[in-house]
Symmetry: C2
Subunit: 215 residues, 2 copies
């Protein structure tokens, strides 16, 4: 009896798996190296070593260093967008903004490298993701400003400038990733413990939510 014909087109399952896995390994290594050395300081050789692959293999999957970098940055932006959705569907600022802070702090903890790559990209004038800033980010920002303004109009929070509130949310949460090394140094060269992370989250939420009159 011949093997059952696969209905789902698994066909070249092995090859697909190889490609998926190698791209993942390369992207992980690239994210680290780009974060630790910047785009200019990163070398394909270093990324290759960290990925455990020959350099020429990287160029097989990603034609150029810049193409690899673009993929890394895009991945981060998608993660960021996922967290951004936390904002939606909340009835009041305490849950909406509080949940957003939680989500972004969690990203800072789980994706510190990605956050640093994003920060460096923006600091250098966003040469690669300028269009995202002008379209997706701008739209998202405008939408969230409307939501906040509505909360203000409904008397659910103090009349602050929604735009600057958003900047403060981004700044405070991403700081724990981008300046994680500084925080760690000031913590006696120790990474923040679970307890300290909870404390950080609580501090940020308390100060900001009380600051906007939502507590």
């Amino acid at each position: 009896m011949p093997p059952l014909a696969q209905v789902t087109p698994i066909k070249t399952a092995r090859r697909t798996e190889i490609r998926r896995e190698n791209e993942r390994v390369i992207l992980d290594a690239a994210e680290r190296v780009f974060a630790e050395a910047g785009f200019g300081g990163a070398t394909m050789q270093l990324i290759a070593d960290m990925a455990g692959l020959p350099k020429a293999n990287l160029h097989y999957y990603f034609p150029t260093k810049e193409a690899l970098y673009r993929r890394v940055v895009q991945n981060i932006f998608e993660i960021w967008l996922d967290a951004a959705s936390t904002f939606d569907g909340a009835e009041d600022p305490a849950t909406g903004i509080g949940g957003y802070i939680d989500a972004k702090m969690e990203i800072s903890r789980r994706h510190p490298h990605g956050s640093k790559v994003w920060a460096a990209e923006v600091m250098q004038g966003a040469p690669v993701i300028q269009d995202y800033l002008e379209t997706t980010l701008k739209d998202w920002t405008d939408g969230r400003i409307s939501v906040i303004q509505r909360w203000i109009d409904q008397g659910k929070m103090a009349p602050i400038n929604p735009r600057h509130l958003l900047y403060m949310l981004w700044a405070t949460t991403q700081h724990y990733a981008d300046f994680g090394h500084q925080i760690e140094t000031l913590n006696g060269a120790q990474p923040l413990s679970d307890r300290q992370w909870r404390d950080a989250k609580a501090s940020v939420k308390t100060i900001l939510l009380r600051g906007i009159g939502a507590l």
Copy 2:
């Protein structure tokens, strides 16, 4: 009659002036280039072009790229330390912390390049200024934590974690320099006006001071 002997040792006034001026021009150009390209992406040739000097002349004043970079980072740290003194001598959190926010926002506005270089340096693990983090910054931080704790004990503000408050102060104020390009893009590709800067300062101060119960 021979010229009056200069009591003040002006002696080689011209040469001193040349050196001072050239170092200034080079450091200004270096700060810009390091901020816009990162240490790895910056080239001595680019810095030389921006300074309007031949590349070999840079190496006359600064032996290596790293030596030049160190000087840039140290300059920024000194500016930062100046602003940090604003904290001292304040009787209550509203003036102490409010003044500190004002000072740091002013730095973000006047030295955006320097702030970015500092941020990139820390993000990459502070390879050059790690000792500063462990000594000067740690001491300053501990001192300020004491001051804040005293204010809390005196009932002048809410009982928050002073350390995380400091992180929030750094994050929110430096964000306006480090992510200035993003802010500018979201502002319709326009730099913040005087009015908008005042609004930013006021927003940050209002939210944070109310957030810590000092208003």
